[in-house]
Structure formats: C-alpha cells, structure tokens
Symmetry: C2
Subunit: 359 residues, 2 copies
C-alpha cells in the first residue's frame, strides 16, 4: 500500500489553496453547481427518511430509469435492470471490476493517455498495463490478436485528452476483445460532454461490453458518489456480491437524486463548455501544438519543456495545471480543464500565451 | 468471487417481504428514524451545494469533532485529526483494512460469534480465520502468544450476541496483539447501545488499537454510509491512499450530517432498547437457555433443533429470525433483534414461547 504515490491532482489542489487568486485549470469537475431540481429531490429523500440501507444492487426505481436511458440514449437495446449495478461512483465501479476480474500478471490493454486511476488500480490488483495510443488505426490491432488480454479499458470521451473515439476504433476494440477473450470496459462518465455529436456507446453493438456511467461529472455530484455498471448478468451478480462485502450499497438518498438527474436538461451547460472548448483551442493554436477536444472538458497539449518545469513556471503566474506524465509515458504534455468561469479561463489563456514565449 | 454466498440476512429480508404481517426480528438496524436534527443538517448541506468531492480523508470539521468525541467519550487521549480517516461505513473501513493488511495465509484471530463480514472478507483477501470464543478468560490467551497473528478483530458490544467484553478480556487481547505483533481492531459501531455501562474502548489504554466507529446503527444512517477509523498515523496514511483509489471519499453531505449526529442526545432511544432487552430476557428465560444481552440490540440463544429447522418453524408463525450458523461454527443458535416496535416484539415473544413447546 505504501507504494502508490499520492495523486499530483491532489497536489495541484493543495497548491491552488496556497495562492491568493489562482487561475485554477486543474480541476476535474464542473464549475457549475448541481442543478437545483436534483438538490430538491436529494433533500426530499432525506426528509422522507430514506436513510436506511438500500438493496445491494441499488433501488429498483433507479435501475429501471437507467435501463431506459441506456436503451433510448445509448441505443443499447438489451439494457435491463438485471444487468445494472448501482455503485458509489466510477472509482468504486472500477475497484469492484478490477478486484473481481484481475489476477496477478494479467495483461490489461489501456488506451493512452489514460485516466490515472486505471493503471494505478490495475497494478494494485496485480495487472500488467499495456498502453495503446488513442490515435491507433483499426489495422494496428491485428498484431495484438494473438495476445491474451484480461481486459481492455478506455474513457470515452477521454480524460485527459478530450478525444472521442471513432466508431471504427471502437469496433476494432470490440473485435479485439472478442478474439482475445478480454472484457471490454467503456467508461462513459463524460458522455454528455460531446461537442460535435461523435460519441458512440460500443455497448450498442457489442453485448459483452461493460459500460460505466457516472453522475459525478455531468451533474456536479462528485461528492454524492453515484455511478452504474451495465454488463452481462453473471458479471453483475459477481460484482453485486463483492459490493455486499465492501461498501454494501451506494448512498441511499443519492440514488433517489440520480433518478431526477436523468430527467435534467443539461444542454445549456454543455453549450457553455462547447464555447469554452473553442475558446481554448483558438487561444492556444498559434502558441502550442494542440488539437481541438471532442469531448469532456479537458485539453491535453504539448509544452516546450518538461511538464514539471512548465507547471512550475505556470505557478509563478498563479496558473495551476496538471502534469501530463501521470496520464501517459510522455513528459512534455499538460492537462488543462476548461470547466471554469470565463474570467478565469481568459486569464489562463493569457498566461499560457505569455508562457509560450518564455521557452 | 462466485464463491461468496449471499447473506442469509438478506434472505430473511426477502422472506419478510413475502409475509403479509411479519414479526420481523431479523433486522440489523434501529427501528426509529434518523433524528430530525440530523436530517435537517443533511438537507442544509445539500441545499448549500456541498455536493463536490471532499478531501480523501474526510472534511476537517468532522475529523475534529470525532477527535474530540474520542478524547472525551472514549477516553482516548491521543486521538487527533491526523489519526482519523472518514469512510463510507464500517464495511468500507473493514475492506480498506483487510485489503491493506491481509496477505495470503495470514492468520487472523476473530472473536466468536462474529459479525459475518469479518470471516467472509478476511477469506476473500486470503486470510485464515482462527476463532476465539467470546467467553474466553485472560489466561486462555497464554497458549496463543507463540503464534503469529496478522490481526485480532471483534465487535464490542457484539453483533450477534450483545456481549460487552470485560476490561480484563480487552486487556488480554491487547497484550496478545502486542506480543504477536498483530493489529488489534476494535469495532465499536454499537458502543452507545451499552445498557449496563460496561463498555470500554481498549484504545484508551493500548495506543496501537485500530478503533472503528460507525454512525449507521446509532442514528439509523445505514444508507448514508459513514464511519471513522482511528489508528496510528502510518496506518491512516496507507488507508487514505487506498481510499483515494477505491471510493475516493465518504459521501459529502453525510459527513456534515455526522457532525450533527455527534451532538444528538440518543439516551431516550437507548433507554427504550434497554427495556426491550429486559423484556426479551424475561420473556424467554424460562423457555430457552439465554443470557441477558449487555449491549447492541440482539439476543443470541440456543434452540432445541438446528437453526435452519427452527427458522422454518418460526416462519410458519410469521416470525423472521437469523440462523446462528452464519455467525459461528454452531448450528443450534438463532439471532433475534429487538430493534423494533413493542407490538412486534410482544408478538415475537409469544411466538417463541409457543415454539419452545413444539420441540
């Protein structure tokens, strides 16, 4: 246990607290508050005394609403309550999955750059991480078909790059999963942050997909701990048993709030982030090699010095970023989150433009 | 994962739902609702938008309030914020501990009868369970001093027996922990349910104790997921890191409710359960070999046939109990919970008196 390093994201968080008026572009959650209708239902659930244990797998009402969401929004026709487990956030879902599936020495294909929890948790459970660049072409996977992977995992849209994987890429990954016997895990926590309508749930075509859906990012419910797993019956059964012996159930009142969240129109929030996505790209494209993000609320771009050096220079301008090395094997990228107020974002772009000239 | 059987407690729960007007004495949580002042603070935290991640270890305000509680109520003078981790309930605390501490083949001393999660989770992490009868005498431990235990664990007061361990027993366990290098884990989730003022926190004398404190049972917050771990700095650091890579943090608004819970006077509730404890004992002592419970809200007593047979006979009288075999190696005990309304309890005692004559 003493081997896992504390996350540099948390370090950025601490750093930001030490600066008087920081330009904090390190935060991995929306800057807007949880919408008031969700708060109202959360409040009502508390007042109605829904403070007892729920069923281990989650309240039937939420599972039913999620099944409907999967069928209509994600086009996953086989989605059904029995295939859904409600968990205490995506991290909890990942822990259940990795704990149940990964054995010592298992090779796990992780699309890179990756959510930093994937390799950290996989290694903790004895897995060996095999990275695959997110820019891969379907034919690149041919040479991998003779290997044996326990699982394939990616976040789509991606944290940290904002990349939305193409249908062709996703189909190639599903093919690879099928031919190597790997579990295909599609982490779709950022699915609503899809600015060019490119997002596609591979679960709609490949029934063995394990689809992860989170409430934290979309509705700013990170502290309320809620996510769901959609998978084959036998996987859900095993994970439910493990949940019974670990966190028991997701927080009761949060589950009721989740049902309301699904009814909430987030399009104005998404539109705001789309404009911020464009603003970041337009502000930086002449200063850094940068690609326009397709989704999530991050931009991941190359800097002219090492990430750690760049981060230190940024701090001198009160700007907080996250070093890229925690998301991939490269050491000259940084992650910027545009989930913030316009004022902060504008100050950040100005600081980044100045920083590019210092190198 | 497929090896862990679903808990018979859950089966009792399902069974109770199938009977029209069940006498349900199987439930492991208070029958009273979460007190209104706690609900109010929970509601206010939601309305104030406290829906984001908290620090991994918990909000400082709760840790500070817990440190004060440990110092004044439990007489643990060394209690300090840095030694406290806030978790998503006791089950989550156990999972963090066992995952971090237990390696394949480690021998773990478990006071028996035990909370069924202990052996189930210990075995999952590769531990070997060595049971020790709760009626042990201090001198019985002498012969164990040459063994090597990874940990010693008990719930005090006990689920399922309601036994409150004596100071002498606790001191003997602390001595054994010290001489064998074992971690001593004192699960005190039922501490307030202490009817004869016998409860004693061994952490007040043995500084290496890992003390677990839960909010679920005392305030009927089982679904809100909140507990704390008090332990040495290095243990807390390791567990905090593991929490960061699993559930991330305890639910944010629940943590605020926890502070209010600590200020809540529960004495009227405890007095009610004390009367129920007496009533159960007085009603059954001429029919079954039974001991008066010292704490928690359970009675654990021997029945004249196997527990499974007895449970089936009880169901015919609409009475739901939990079989003893899940808590110990014996197969002729049952667990009764008196955390219920007087009417239900009276019906239950009548049914049990009748059942004793059928054997």
């Amino acid at each position: 246990m003493y081997g896992i390093d504390s996350s540099p994201i948390r370090k950025a968080f601490e750093l930001a607290r030490s600066i008087q008026n920081p330009i904090n572009l390190s935060i991995g959650q929306p800057h807007f508050p949880c919408p008031p209708n969700i708060i109202e239902v959360l409040t009502k659930a508390a007042q109605d005394g829904k403070t007892s244990y729920t069923l281990t797998g989650g309240i039937p009402e939420l599972k039913s609403a999620m099944a409907e969401k999967y069928r209509t929004q994600n086009k996953i026709s086989y989605a059904h309550e029995d295939r859904i487990l409600v968990t205490s956030g995506i991290s909890s879902a990942l822990f259940l999955l990795f704990n149940a599936l990964v054995n010592e020495g298992d090779e796990c294909l992780v699309i890179s750059p990756y959510f930093l929890m994937y390799p950290a948790m996989l290694k903790f459970y004895g897995g060996k991480v095999v990275p695959l660049e997110e820019s891969f072409k379907p034919e690149d996977l041919e040479s991998l078909k003779s290997r044996k992977f326990k699982l394939i995992i990616f976040s789509n849209p991606s944290n940290p790059t904002g990349k939305v994987l193409s249908k062709e890429q996703l189909r190639a990954l599903a093919n690879l999963a099928e031919s190597t016997g790997a579990y295909l895990i599609s982490d779709e926590i950022y699915e609503l942050f899809d600015y060019d309508k490119q997002f596609f749930s591979i679960g709609s075509e490949y029934e063995k997909t394990i689809t992860l859906t989170g409430f934290s990012k979309t509705y700013n419910m990170t502290g309320l701990r809620l996510a769901t797993i959609l998978a084959e019956d036998k996987v859900i059964k095993a994970l439910t048993t493990l949940q019974q012996y670990t966190v028991v159930c997701a927080p009761s009142i949060t589950q009721w709030a989740g049902i309301e969240a699904l009814k909430t129109d987030m399009s104005a929030y998404i539109q705001d982030y789309k404009e911020k996505r464009d603003f970041v790209y337009d502000s930086l494209k002449d200063y850094y090699p940068i690609q326009k993000s397709g989704g999530a609320f991050y931009s991941f771009f190359q800097v002219p010095v090492t990430d750690e050096e760049f981060i230190q220079r940024a701090v001198k301008k009160d700007l907080i970023l996250v070093p890229g090395f925690i998301f991939c094997d490269q050491k000259n990228f940084v992650r910027l989150s545009f989930a913030t107020e316009w004022d902060t974002l504008k100050r950040g772009m100005k600081a980044l433009q100045e920083l590019s000239k210092e190198s």
